[in-house]
């Protein structure tokens, strides 16, 4: 199966979904995305980090610099209540949209 880049605007939704599972740092999120999509979805760091920071500015996630091993600090992202709410709402919208698309394109019997 070919790796597809994420549809415009869906990255936020994906990130929120991953963070709903638990706090994570950027690399963890990227890895998780690959795992969850069984390697079929991949995002570049160039869009991952701006997206994470944008979510923070919007208040959907919050972040904290935490110490990790080897004397490094990593930024841990945690989903907020507002983020959760948005995730549920947009998941519904997405599901409805996907269903309609499937119906229109005839891939769903």
């Amino acid at each position: 199966m070919k790796k597809s880049s994420l549809l415009q605007g869906t990255l936020d939704l994906v990130l929120l979904r991953i963070l709903e599972l638990g706090p994570n740092h950027g690399w963890g999120i990227a890895n998780r995305l690959q795992q969850m999509s069984k390697d079929s979805l991949k995002t570049s760091q160039g869009s991952l980090y701006p997206a994470l920071h944008r979510l923070e500015m919007r208040g959907d996630v919050r972040s904290q610099m935490t110490a990790s091993d080897n004397n490094r600090r990593a930024r841990m992202y945690t989903i907020t209540a507002a983020g959760r709410k948005r995730l549920y709402k947009e998941t519904e919208t997405w599901a409805a949209f996907a269903l309609s698309m499937a119906r229109v394109l005839g891939t769903n019997e």
Partner: protein, 873 residues
Amino acid sequence: MITRSIAFVRGLLRRRAIDDEIAEELRDHLEREIEMHVSRGVSPDEARRRAIRDLGGLTQTIEATRAVRATWFDGLGRDARYAARVLRRSPLFTATALALLVLGIGATTAILSVAYAVLVRPLPFPNADRLVFITEKDGAGVAWPNFEDWRLRAKSFDGLAGSLADAVLMTTRDVPRRFESRSVTSNFFRVLGVVALRGRLFDASDARPDATPTAVVSHAFWLRELGGNTAAIGQTIPFNGKSFHVIGVLPPSFRFMTPAEVYLLIEPQVAADYRGMQSRTTHTTFYVVGRLKAGVSVTGARTEMQTLQTALAGDSTSAKDVGIQLVTLADRIVGDMAATLTVLAGAVALLLLITCANLAALLLNRNAARAHEFTIRAAIGGNRWQLIRQLLVEHAMLIAAGAALGTVAGAFILHGLVGAAPRDLPRLDEIRLDFTVMSGITAVSCACAFMFGVVPTLRTFGGTGAGLATRSGRGTRSRSSLRTALMIGEIALATVLLSGSGLMIQTMRRLSRVDPGFDPHNLKTVMFSLQGAAWPDARKEVFYRSVVERLRAVPGVEDAAITYSLPMLGSNWWNVFMTQGTTAEYWTSVGEFPNAGMVPVTAGYFEMLRIPLLKGRYFNRSDTPTSLPVAIMSSSAARKYWPNEDPIGKQVRQGYPNDPYGPWRTIVGVVGDIKQNGIDQEMPRQVFLPIVQQPRTTVFAIARLRAPVPGSSIEAAIHDLDRTIPVFNDRTIDQVMTEASSRRRVAMLVLSVFGGVALFLAAIGLYGVVAQSVADRHHEIGVRMALGATSRQVVRLFLRHGLVVIAIGVPAGLLGATVAVRSLASLVYGITVTDPATLGAVALVLVAVTAVASFLPSRSAARTDPLTILRAE
């Protein structure tokens, strides 16, 4: 929301730190990637290579991430930097715009600050709008018995108090010193709502006949004379040879009408019949102030007082000329200064409008010149909002700089204004550079810059890339008609200002030509006072004569005399009098008793002032305290009361028939009228008395100078006779006249300077508009001339544009002027505010100047060589 704001604030405060954090975050990502590769058996070097490859451009990622955080604040900083660069690159534009803003904001702030402090800000008393000021008919002081009746009967007031401006001698040292004082009723401070800074103020018990004499002093007096010491309260100070207990100190902000340093109670003075105050016919400068009861209007109180006063007149046959004046205290204090300030504020508001119009024209021109830049920015994807923001930032920076410099300029102008202000400008000490005023003016400038800088640019910009090639597209025309409209407005406003200026110049010219009835030049005057028990009338009379002799002996003094009322400064004593042979009933039927200014003078007064003798004789040395009581009438008094008779030999006596004052006096002479009350006033009726027959305590010594004489040598001449005499108010009659005309002069100066600036700005503006239209139609001129148009026709083409602007602007301005100059009514002298000659001259000047301003660029159009233009295409 809170998270978001915190993140935002953090973004503002810790930009550097955030950059570092982002870098750190990405480094962590990189390390983890490498570790992952290594754990899968890749060599460390290869792992690092792969990780870096996968991560993509590190710098771009940092940039993009930061862009998310920085949002509009960073953009603003970028715009500001860009704007600063743009402004620096066009110094002429920046300097012109700044000069306009500094002029507009500075001048307006200063003058409106004065107007605000004097006219708008409430007086420094609690509920000051409830305070009213009451005088008798024609603003005369209130007779004490009337005041007592008012206090008993008037129902409109929570309190009625009164005060009399006076002076006291402090006799602590061997040379007594004189202080301005105010004699007040015991409830005076309570009615005003003033609270003592230290000690207490007067109450009713202080006014009891057996009470210890008490005094209240000003803050300045307390600091200077009593060392600012609280222990000074309770001390005794000798005033006018009598001991007073200092009971309290007034707050530093306290000021009521004329400044005073010592406050004494008036009740004991009235009890001693000071200045004849027990009489109902004596009108000193005792004025009444009242605090209105809740719910009582000024009009209501006025009606009640009128009725009351008429009823009082019915009670006592002596009070026939009844009537009162009741105005708010603020109106009284500001007085006719309100008119002057309104004119100045109006003038400066017009100037602000003109500078705004110029700023607008300037911005229009500039943004038109930059249309190319904007179009390119649009074409390469700059959006409308960014352009608006860019222009806003640019204009905001200009205005911020202009406002800052303008405030500094305003402070300087204000300092100059306060220094040059007429000394009688009320509330002078309350004037500050006003923040409210300044913010308002800056807001007006901002709005103007936005309206004319940003909005028209956007309209032509249209949000599309179209117009890149057509640099003289449709936008030019709409901008040029906006500019034309601005110019018409500017010329109209300049016309209004210059009309005011013209009227004031005419006024000053007419005033300088008025004949005052005497020779007012080279006259020096001082006041001196013979107060206290040491000066019985007999001794005063001798002293006056000695002073005159001494002064005549001073080198440089040609002649000298003494008077109770200084010419140009008004009458200090106005009284009714009876003429022999007419009854009280006769005058009652006429409706008014004879009245005039009573002026005790020394012999030689008329000769010294060069007042012509019309009939009879002047006073001379044969008039003594014991000789026949005599009087001299001014010509207007003689004409009014003896229209068909020779007044010489007739007799007059001061006071009402049942309440006379002094002896019957025989009229021995008639002299010419003089401008006693000021050069712009009517010549009042006057009755002159020999001062030896009617001694006064505080008088003016006047010396006519042959050569300049310092005030100190006049003072020394008096002190040679008695060094304990207080001598004060050294000045010349010329100074008195200059001071009296200072309001007019200030109005004339401000209107002329502003008018000149306005005319200049309008001329420059018009020049710019015509020049711009010549530049815009360059190509057209070439074609027309190539097709055979003469240069005269080309000139006419553009001149017409300028002339249309003038033809609309000047009449519109004149129309506006006829309305606006009404506020000058109280300042204009000798002409009407719509004086056709003056307004005509102003219109001519405007037409001439603006016509030249539009002719010059038109002529340059005709000078162009059609071949050069066409070849350039």
